[in-house]
């Protein structure tokens, strides 16, 4: 009864739980749990032999948070910033700390510009964007898309139509825009004749 001092009784005793659930209580003693944060200083855990690691060469001006004193000794080199998105990213890192919403909103804006320009660039490449393959929508047929949703009270079904707009909307807008552009060009050419 919650409104008194007593804690509600357990439905099953510890002995019953131990009999029913493999390993019940194996880590009952907190000392068996690898706790975090660890108060004990262990300056060279595992195979580290350095106090400060050797520095990875910087092959281009690597963007970094202005909360860091210097470029960390090791870093990823996955996608160097380039184009308009790259310029926005560099600005976000140079000017705004992680504590500023502007930092993250600029990075998100750059992400969208990067995705759009990447798609446009792909049409000039040997591997143009393929919305059917890239969205993996064939999985709907291969992995029972309808049956996975029908007759279920899934909370995500409320927003899944929105996802469709987000995924397909830009392609639809691009298709309509291209059609209108081609039509306009054709009319201009016809008038000129």
């Amino acid at each position: 009864m919650t409104y008194t001092q007593q804690r509600p009784p357990m439905a099953e005793s510890s002995a019953e739980l131990r009999a029913r659930i493999p390993g019940w209580g194996a880590d009952l003693n907190p000392r068996h749990r690898p706790a975090v944060p660890m108060e004990r200083l262990d300056p060279h855990p595992y195979g580290a032999v350095w106090d400060f690691p050797e520095r990875q060469p910087e092959h281009w001006p690597r963007e970094r948070s202005n909360e860091h004193a210097f470029l960390t000794p090791v870093f990823g080199t996955s996608c160097p910033p380039h184009g308009p998105a790259g310029a926005i990213r560099k600005l976000a890192y140079r000017r705004y700390s992680e504590g500023r919403a502007a930092h993250w909103l600029l990075l998100l804006a750059a992400d969208r510009i990067d995705a759009t320009t990447g798609t446009l660039r792909s049409f000039a490449s040997r591997h143009p964007a393929n919305p059917i393959a890239e969205t993996g929508m064939l999985a709907e047929f291969k992995y029972h898309g309808l049956r996975s949703r029908r007759g279920q009270q899934r909370a995500d079904l409320v927003h899944q139509p929105l996802d469709l707009v987000i995924v397909g909307g830009s392609w639809l807008a691009a298709a309509v825009g291209t059609y209108r552009l081609v039509r306009r060009v054709r009319r201009v050419v016809q008038r000129a004749r």
């Binding site: 357990m10 996955s78 993250w104 969208r112 591997h127 709907e140 009270q153 927003h159 987000i166």
Partner: protein, 382 residues
């Protein structure tokens, strides 16, 4: 080599990319034999994580065989079968020295608030991930561990994040004998947290989700009591009633940024990116735990602010604990639990997908089709 490549929100493909090279004397190049898609990869896939660049390869859960090592690597050699924790860490900075390997200060120039993670945007350091044939592994003497002879590959790959993170979530709750533990989210991490809560002596473990097949798994994998929140008008009231109006002793948020259940929250966070994530699960955790209880958070959230009910947390005197899991610290104990059969990571695997079909794998996992709980990726060269 063949690698998964991000093209924009909801769009990925497999491309030829240059094989990674040794960029630091303590790097190794690992040939990936198994990778997984993690629930937090979906935040990248949906375009939620800032600075996710076109061309990046995702994947922070992977195992493989060492292909090449840098000149200063002493503990690994070519041919070793290794499992790689999702955290990249130096082992000796202020934070690593205190066991906070997820918070290493020497591997992520892009941010100080988060450490380095394989394939997890430039916000986490700009490292390519393991959903590829090869991957660069920095600090090869520190992070990777030889896979024990007796351990199955599928157990090993799930210990690189999902199961270790679930165990960590239960650990952050500081569970004592007889505690009522409620876990929000029955994905691989939530299921692992629920199973781990018993190991720490929970008296009752309740799992909340909206997908019946995941709740069925919570009953079989984690021996949990389950409730589908869509079947109840107010899940917080239900949990209060279930706990004699006291509330749970420990609430674990294993959902993170894209919680369903409130369309407004979902639109402002997942769709409009105005929040660091939809805090609906976290708010349910704060509301449903008892006064003086503990809320453990290892569901992944983005760096932007979120509308979290902090006032209630303060007024209830809650202990909030959270972090990315320092995976390697969990391994010795988890190896014992797997060997004893107390945790069975590979039971979470529902789909095995060739790398070439990874776009379908992401859609399958994202749309939660076909009873998918955990999809593994098998590189063509594996």
């Amino acid at each position: 080599m063949r690698a998964m490549v991000y093209r924009g929100p909801y769009r990925i493909r497999v491309e030829d990319k240059p094989r990674p090279v040794l960029e630091h004397p303590n790097d190794a190049i690992v040939k990936v034999t198994r990778a997984a898609i993690c629930g937090s990869d979906l935040h990248l896939y949906h375009g939620m994580m800032p600075d996710t660049r076109v061309g990046m390869t995702f994947g922070h859960e992977f195992i493989g065989v060492v292909d090449e090592v840098g000149p200063s690597v002493r503990t690994l050699q070519a041919g070793d079968r290794v499992m790689v924790p999702f955290n990249i860490f130096c082992g000796t900075c202020y934070f690593c020295a205190r066991g906070l390997y997820a918070n290493c200060h020497n591997v992520n120039p892009n941010a100080t608030a988060v450490g380095g993670i394989y394939g997890y945007s430039h916000t986490c350091g700009g490292y390519d991930g393991g959903q590829a044939e090869y991957v660069r592994v920095p600090f090869a003497d520190v992070g990777p561990e030889l896979i024990p002879e007796w351990m199955d590959d599928e157990d090993a790959v799930l210990l690189t994040d999902a199961v270790a993170t679930g165990y960590f979530g239960a650990q952050l709750g500081d569970i004592v004998e007889g505690d009522v533990v409620v876990v929000f989210g029955a994905g691989p991490v939530g299921l692992s947290a629920a199973a781990s809560a018993w190991l720490m002596g929970a008296g009752r473990v309740i799992v909340i989700d909206h997908l019946d097949y995941r709740l069925a798994k919570a009953r079989s994998f984690a021996h949990a009591e389950t409730y589908n929140f869509t079947e109840h008008a107010d899940i917080v009231v239900l949990l209060k009633k279930l706990t004699d109006h006291l509330g749970a002793d420990v609430a674990i948020d294993a959902v993170g940024a894209e919680a369903d259940g409130n369309l407004l929250q979902h639109i402002t966070s997942a769709k409009l990116k105005l929040q660091g994530g939809s805090p609906i699960a976290l708010n349910w955790a704060i509301d449903s735990v008892r006064k003086g209880g503990a809320v453990s958070v290892m569901g992944a959230y983005g760096p932007m602010f979120s509308a979290v009910k902090f006032g209630d947390a303060m007024n209830k005197g809650l202990t909030l604990r959270m972090n990315q899991c320092p995976v390697k610290r969990q391994w010795p104990r988890l190896f014992e639990h797997v060997r004893n059969g107390y945790l069975k990571p590979r039971d979470l695997v529902t789909h095995r997908i060739p790398l070439e079909h990874i776009a379908e794998g992401y859609h399958l996992f994202s749309a939660k089709l076909d009873g998918c709980i955990k999809p593994l990726i098998v590189p063509s060269a594996a």
